[in-house]
Point group: C2
Chain length 141, copies 2
């Protein structure tokens, strides 16, 4: 009776996402990020993923995260110089960092508004990526 965790592909996960082969390790990293939407750091992913993959290494977690980011399966989120965090929400959104709780909340853009409405951009500017980060508190009304 073998009780160890094999590197087998799980049935409830596609073989590939965006052209990236979903190995067992990548599956588990991705699964964790979709389950826990708390924007964990690489180290937090590493610690929590040991349950499913006891022999995984931190280097592999970094490798998986990088591969998933590169193939637009997840997003990397940075706050100042803090450790990078990772997010499985692919909708365009910003991040609100609640200083009280330390939690990070996804913030949607209102529909129908464009950045050009808000920012004084130089003419002929092609924006490829936008990052909006907010810091503050969710005041108890």
């Amino acid at each position: 009776m073998k009780t160890d965790t094999p590197n087998n592909h799980q049935p409830d996960m596609p073989e590939e996402i965006n052209g990236l082969r979903m190995t067992r390790q990548r599956q588990e990293v991705y699964r964790l990020l979709t389950r826990e939407r708390t924007h964990p750091t690489a180290n937090e992913v590493f610690m929590r993923i040991k349950e499913a993959l006891p022999n995984v290494s931190l280097a592999t977690v970094y490798n998986c995260l990088e591969a998933l980011v590169q193939h637009n399966v997840i997003r990397q989120v940075n706050f100042d110089r803090e450790p990078s965090r990772y997010c499985s929400n692919l909708d365009e959104h910003g991040h609100f960092h609640d200083e009280k709780t330390g939690k990070i909340h996804d913030v949607k853009f209102k529909s129908g508004v464009s950045l050009a409405d808000v920012l004084d951009l130089p003419p002929n500017t092609v924006i490829k990526d936008v990052e909006i980060t907010l810091r503050g508190q969710l005041s108890a009304s």
Copy 2:
């Protein structure tokens, strides 16, 4: 005849800014950032400031930058995990990173628009700081 550069206060700079004593080193760091608005890194500040202060150390540059940031005399700007950059523009503004030239441009907010107009913020949210970063190209029309 002494030709070395003493740590004397320069006459064209106030003794204090926002309660921070403007030592010779802090003056030169601040002067550089107001003169060159290219958002240099700590290392770039270090290399360029040697002209005025040949004996300055990188640690002192970091100390000066941190003191100036802490006292809201300059702002620290981060792009992903690249080295921090520093900005003497205190107006609320975002940063557009031109991928073609590598240059960073300040981007003003249009007057009269608030973030609440654009973002779907949770109710009772007190925003203390906003960071907007754009990445793209200034297309030659």
